[in-house]
C-alpha cells in the first residue's frame, strides 16, 4: 500500500564551487490523507528546503516525492504554499490576489460567475471578505497571512504546505490564526504539512510532529504522534496531561538531545 504523499529517500546537496553542503540526508516520510503534519527543528536544519522539495520549487538531489501516485517534478497548484512572508502581489487588491489563483486554476472547470463566487467563498473562510478591495499594504500582517491562506485554499490543493505561516506575527494574532487554521482543517479535511519552530503550535495543531536533527545532513530524528482528540480547545489543553507530555517530548528533543550549535 502506498501512502497519499510519500517523501522517499530524499537527499539535498548544495554545491558552491568545489564545496558541497549536504542539507538533507535520507528523509523518508509518509503522510496520510487528511493528516496534519508539523516539521520542527532548529533554524538551518533544512525544514524549508524539505517543504520546497515537496512544493517542487527546489529539486531533490536524490530520492523524490510521490503525491497521490504521481511524482513531483515541478511546482503546481495541487501543492499550494502559504509562504512565511505572505507573498501577496502588492499591486493587486485582496480580492484580485485570490482571484488570480482562482482564474488560473479553475479556468476550465468554473464559469466566470462561479469563479467570483469561489473567490468570495474562500475569503469568507478566512473572514477577510470585509477587506476584499484593500491592497496588501493597507492590511495588517495577520490579515495578509489570512489572504495568503485563502489564496492557497482556493486552489483546492491535494496537500497544503505552510512555511512558518505564523512566524512573523505577534503572539495574539498568531493564536487567532492558529484557531482559524485548526477550524479550516476540521471543516475541509485538508492534508497539511507545516514548518514551524514553535513547540506549542506544533503540538496544538498536529497529528504528528516530525522532529529534525541539526544540519548539515539533517535527518528525521523522531516522529511523535499527538493523540489528542479533535476539535482541540486551546484553553482546555493548557492543563491536559497528554498535551504537556507531548510538549515535553519535543522540548527534550530540541533542547537536550539536539541542542542548537551555532557553528553548525
Amino acid at each position: 500500500m502506498t501512502a497519499y504523499c510519500r517523501i522517499s529517500h530524499v537527499d539535498k546537496v548544495y554545491k558552491r564551487g568545489s564545496t558541497e553542503t549536504c542539507v538533507l540526508k535520507e528523509i523518508t516520510l509518509d503522510i496520510e490523507k487528511g493528516e496534519y503534519v508539523s516539521i520542527i527543528g532548529h533554524s538551518g536544519c533544512g525544514k524549508s528546503t524539505l517543504l520546497n522539495i515537496v512544493a517542487g520549487l527546489t529539486p531533490a538531489t536524490n530520492g523524490g516525492v510521490i503525491l497521490e501516485g504521481r511524482e513531483v517534478n515541478d511546482p503546481g497548484p495541487d501543492r499550494a504554499v502559504v509562504f512565511q512572508n505572505h507573498s501577496l502581489l502588492p499591486w493587486l487588491t485582496v480580492y484580485d490576489n485570490v482571484k488570480l489563483a482562482v482564474d488560473k486554476v479553475c479556468s476550465a472547470t468554473k464559469s466566470r460567475a462561479e469563479r467570483h463566487a469561489w473567490t468570495i467563498h474562500n475569503l469568507d473562510l478566512v473572514q477577510m471578505t470585509h477587506a476584499k478591495d484593500k491592497r496588501p499594504s493597507e492590511i495588517s500582517g495577520g490579515m495578509k497571512q489570512r489572504v495568503g491562506l485563502a489564496r492557497a485554499l482556493a486552489m483546492e490543493p491535494k496537500i497544503l504546505l505552510l512555511d512558518e505561516p505564523f512566524g512573523a506575527l505577534d503572539a495574539l494574532t498568531r493564536a487567532h490564526l492558529q484557531d482559524t487554521v485548526m477550524g479550516l482543517h476540521q471543516k475541509l479535511g485538508n492534508t497539511v504539512m507545516m514548518i514551524t519552530h514553535d513547540v506549542d503550535e506544533a503540538v496544538l495543531l498536529s497529528d504528528r510532529i516530525i522532529m529534525m536533527t541539526n544540519g548539515p545532513s539533517a535527518q528525521i530524528g523522531e516522529i511523535l504522534p499527538v493523540p489528542l482528540a479533535r476539535p482541540r480547545k486551546r484553553l482546555e489543553l493548557v492543563a491536559d496531561a497528554t498535551f504537556l507530555k507531548c510538549r515535553q517530548r519535543v522540548l527534550e528533543f530540541l533542547y537536550e538531545r539536539h541542542q542548537f550549535v551555532e557553528a553548525a
Binding site: 497548484p77 509562504f83 512572508n85 507573498s87 502581489l89 499591486w91 493587486l92 489563483a101 491592497r135
Partner: protein, 302 residues
C-alpha cells in the same frame, strides 16, 4: 494599577445602559462648519503659498537680467527688448504667416511628433530588450557590456551614421531620439526585472503561470517603478536630443528655429524658444511622472 479596574467599571456602565429605557431626548448637535468665505480663503491661501514664491523669484530674476543687460554695450538683450521685438511669438503660439513663418506652438508640435515616434519606439524596444536582459543571464552577459559602451555615445555622434543610412532628415532625427532614450529604458527595465522578489516567482511557479501571463501579471507590475524611472530619464534625454538634432537636420522643428534665428541675428526669438523648450520639457516630465504614479500605485506603496 487602578486604571484598568476603573476603565472596566466605566465600560460596564455603558454596556448596561441600553437595558433601561432611555428617556432623554436626542438633540442633534449643530455641525460646526466653517463659513464658505473662510473656506475659500483657506484654499486661496494654499494656492497662493505654492504660486507666489516662484512668481516672486521669476520677477526678481527678470529684474536682475534687465538691470544687467540694460547697460550700453551689453551682448544679450534685456527682457524688455525681448518683449517688444518678439511680441508676436509670445502672444500667439499658433499663427501662420507663411511656409517658414509660423508660431512656436506649431514648431513645438512638429518636434513633439518626432519625439513621440522616436520615444515610442524606444519605449517598446527598451522594455522588450530590458526584459530579455533582466531575465536571461546569458543575454545579460552578452548584451550588457555593449549597452554600457553604446549608451555613453553622444546623440549627435549618431546623426551622420543615421543620415547615411536613411538618406533623409526626418527618419534620422527620429533615430537619434530613439538611440538616445532607449538606453536608460533598457537598463532600468533590466534592473527592475532582476529585482523581482523570489516570492513572486514562487507564486507564479505554484500557479503555473505561462510565460505570457508571467510577463503581464508579475514582471511588468513588479518592475513598473524601475521601468518608469527609465521612461522618465528617457523622455528628458529625447527632448534634449531633438533640439540638437533639428539644429543640424533642418526642417520645421523648434531646434531648427533656434539655429535659423541665430543665423539671422534674432536673439530675442531664441530666448522665447528656450522658454518654450523648458516649459514643454517640464510638462513632458510631469506627464510621465503622473502616469507612473497612477500605474505604480500598489507597488510603490509597499
Amino acid at each position: 494599577m487602578n486604571m484598568p479596574v476603573a476603565k472596566s467599571e466605566i465600560s460596564g456602565r455603558i454596556f448596561a445602559a441600553p437595558t433601561t429605557p432611555v428617556a432623554a431626548k436626542v438633540l442633534p448637535l449643530p455641525v460646526k462648519q466653517k463659513p464658505i468665505n473662510t473656506r475659500a480663503r483657506d484654499t486661496f491661501g494654499k494656492i497662493a503659498a505654492t504660486v507666489v514664491p516662484p512668481v516672486v523669484m521669476v520677477l526678481l530674476l527678470l529684474t536682475v537680467w534687465q538691470v544687467l543687460c540694460m547697460r550700453p554695450g551689453a551682448t544679450l538683450p534685456p527682457p524688455s527688448k525681448i518683449w517688444t521685438e518678439a511680441y508676436d511669438l509670445i502672444v500667439d503660439p499658433f499663427f501662420v504667416a507663411g511656409p517658414q513663418d509660423i508660431g512656436l506652438g506649431w514648431r513645438v508640435l512638429v518636434s513633439l511628433e518626432r519625439v513621440a515616434i522616436g520615444y515610442g519606439l524606444a519605449a517598446v524596444f527598451g522594455i522588450a530588450l530590458g526584459t530579455l536582459v533582466g531575465q536571461s543571464v546569458w543575454a545579460m552577459r552578452g548584451l550588457d557590456p555593449i549597452f554600457q559602451v553604446l549608451r555613453t555615445i553622444s546623440p549627435l555622434a549618431w546623426l551622420p551614421i543615421s543620415l547615411a543610412a536613411f538618406r533623409d532628415s526626418q527618419p534620422s532625427a527620429i533615430f537619434v531620439i530613439f538611440i538616445t532614450s532607449v538606453w536608460p529604458i533598457i537598463i532600468n527595465t533590466a534592473v527592475g526585472i532582476r529585482n523581482i522578489p523570489q516570492d513572486y516567482r514562487n507564486v507564479a511557479a505554484v500557479l503555473r503561470l505561462n510565460p505570457l501571463e508571467f510577463f503581464g501579471k508579475i514582471m511588468i507590475p513588479s518592475a513598473a517603478p524601475y521601468i518608469f524611472t527609465g521612461l522618465r530619464i528617457g523622455i528628458g534625454l529625447s527632448w534634449l536630443a531633438i533640439v540638437a538634432a533639428e539644429m543640424l537636420t533642418g526642417g520645421v522643428g523648434i531646434g531648427f528655429f533656434i539655429w535659423d534665428a541665430w543665423n539671422s541675428s534674432r536673439l530675442p526669438d531664441i530666448f522665447i524658444a528656450l522658454a518654450y523648450i523648458g516649459i514643454v520639457g517640464f510638462i513632458l516630465d510631469r506627464i510621465v511622472a503622473g502616469v507612473a504614479s497612477i500605474v505604480t500605485r500598489g507597488t510603490a506603496a509597499n
